[in-house]
Symmetry: C2
Amino acid sequence: MNSLVGILGGMGPGATVDAMQKLIKNTPAYRDQDHIPMIAVSIPDIPDRTQCILQHSASPLDKMLQYMKILENAGAECIIIPCNTAHYWFNELKQQCRAEMISIIDVTCQAIRNANTTRVGLLATTATVTARIYQDNLINDDIECYTPDEADQHQVMESIYAYKSGNIAGAYSMLSPVKDRLLQAGVEKIILGCTELPLILEQEVKTTPQYYVDATEELIKKTVEWYFTHSPRNNIAA
Amino acid sequence: MNSLVGILGGMGPGATVDAMQKLIKNTPAYRDQDHIPMIAVSIPDIPDRTQCILQHSASPLDKMLQYMKILENAGAECIIIPCNTAHYWFNELKQQCRAEMISIIDVTCQAIRNANTTRVGLLATTATVTARIYQDNLINDDIECYTPDEADQHQVMESIYAYKSGNIAGAYSMLSPVKDRLLQAGVEKIILGCTELPLILEQEVKTTPQYYVDATEELIKKTVEWYFTHSPRNNIAA
């Protein structure tokens, strides 16, 4: 078996599947056997990340560590987490992880820098925004990071919870005007900094990709790159 | 954690993700934490199932057993395999598995019986057709099982390999006339008896669901039923 990629998922389950789908789509493959070996743990009883950060409710860390160990024990050599808010605990997870880990925040911020963007908008959970997970990463590069006002941010969070509850149309109608206002405010690109957002704005990302940086997509591109660096004998892309 | 579902996947990777997506869609859930805990192993270096059955090339059994053990060791209590052809080895896998296993063939044939269908068409890999995996299961119920003629069956197999190679449009254009001919021959329903087929015929299954029995969907419905029988404290469907 070539290098195994582990996906610490379930936050939420739909975003986990989206990450796997994107891993498949980003792999040059002509038959099953060319694809990247992956193992995904999607055990969604991990406590709500946003509620923990904002309201100091139960921490998701212990469960995340427990499920990360399942991936390690199965032989995962690189572990990714398709949940932006969970990266609040990234360093604590990394410290206890024998496998390599790729940060969705780092790769997304790098994509912003590579695109020479100077004014970005951020759509993310209220916890990701409040904890300044993205803003602090971009601050040294003179990249201005616009976030929605309080009412709009509330609507973003409601949209994410609506999507998680299966109300896809409701999620879209809440989110769409907020992204319009960010674009009208003059941002060049919007970071989709919560893994539910590229699912809610799927059509927009397809039709006007120049306006969006999909954090899940950036994470996956880096993971594919990691794989082909570590499994040269399977490198059909070469 | 509630009862954990294990998915022995990678045959192919797209079908694995489709099964996970269908598990999410078939679960009544209002937040991440309501979803069914799952672990999916998608390590696609398992030798080609069809080539083994038809040409006696390398057997996929050892790798399937190895990856099934990963799921068992992670605590999976029920294991499913979203690949019809792999069920040629179902009994051998089941004999060595401590967890419960649900057969995609058994649940799909039961769905055919429940629908009081007497004339079904079968679209599947040439190995599944030749090994009579479906036909022998239905023979005692006076259900006639129509399979494509040799040229059409060749086209079905080419369509499946095309899909696996990423040629989605080509896969559709090869498969579509074959399903038309089966329907014109008077079958009431077509078994989509290879987990790539509901992906290739996605639009048809959406617009004319009465003509299709999607084996993946049947497997998942039974898995959801298994879960809510075994994790009563999480039964929000009750």
